[in-house]
Symmetry: C2
Subunit: 117 residues, 2 copies
DNA sequence: CAGTTCAATCGATAGTTGTCAATAGATACG
DNA sequence: CGTATCTATTGACAACTATCGATTGAACTG
């Protein structure tokens, strides 16, 4: 889909030599990058990344009341981080009575990992 | 306030039923997550992620003067984004005369991709 | 019913980030 | 020398983020 190139005739130095090959970037890739950025942004915090790791290693649904004491932040702050992860599609949650259980949705992480590698 | 117990042991509901298995998290993993967060944070912006993609696809060192016209931001803003990527170890740069050439350092991305699974 | 517990939300606030215009350095050319 | 070009930095500002304490609401218990 490299149909569209938005280019910029290559520039030249005062002595007329080009600085490099022309660079193109298709719109499709731009949209993809935008989507990956949403996921990466949600991962761009130590607490959230640690949360992911805990949930992943636990290989099951983990109750919020078990997650809170693992971190040096308040319950409301942790709830905020979990919300961010949910909004990015990285985790999902279920309620059972008083408790809320969180678990990783591997799709989002796989998408980013694939994009990276 | 701080008379509380450090409860890693599982909590119990009023009726005595545990909410889930106990959760632990080693310090080593915490440090690792911290490092991954730095990389993810640098990737958490559409422009920066697109920059990575452009550099990667170009498979060579790309001059800043070719990068700037690909985006709808000022030259100083783009310079700022490139700096962020450099600080996270995701890209590197070289100067040749007037021009600055950027290229991807694949190590950081590989690290994150591996961490993600 | 009243009291407890858990998690989400609200309101406030300090700190960070993305952005631009302007400027400063560095380098090349004449 | 002086001028032009390219990139990095600075300063300012609006927008966003992480954090807390307090509160709310739901759900269970006795």
């Amino acid at each position: 889909m490299s149909t569209e190139l938005k280019l910029t005739p290559k520039q030249k130095s005062p002595n007329g030599e080009p600085c490099c090959e022309p660079v193109v970037y298709p719109d499709v890739e731009r949209a993809e990058a935008e989507r990956m950025a949403v996921i990466a942004k949600a991962l761009g915090d130590p607490i959230r990344l640690t949360l992911i790791d805990v949930l992943r290693k636990h290989a099951g649904k983990v109750c919020v009341c078990e997650l809170v004491p693992l971190f040096d932040v308040s319950q409301s702050t942790l709830s905020h981080h979990l919300k961010k992860l949910r909004q990015a599609g990285i985790v999902d949650s279920e309620r059972q009575g008083l408790w809320a259980y969180y678990y990783v949705n591997p799709e989002a992480l796989d998408e980013l990992a694939t994009w990276l590698g």
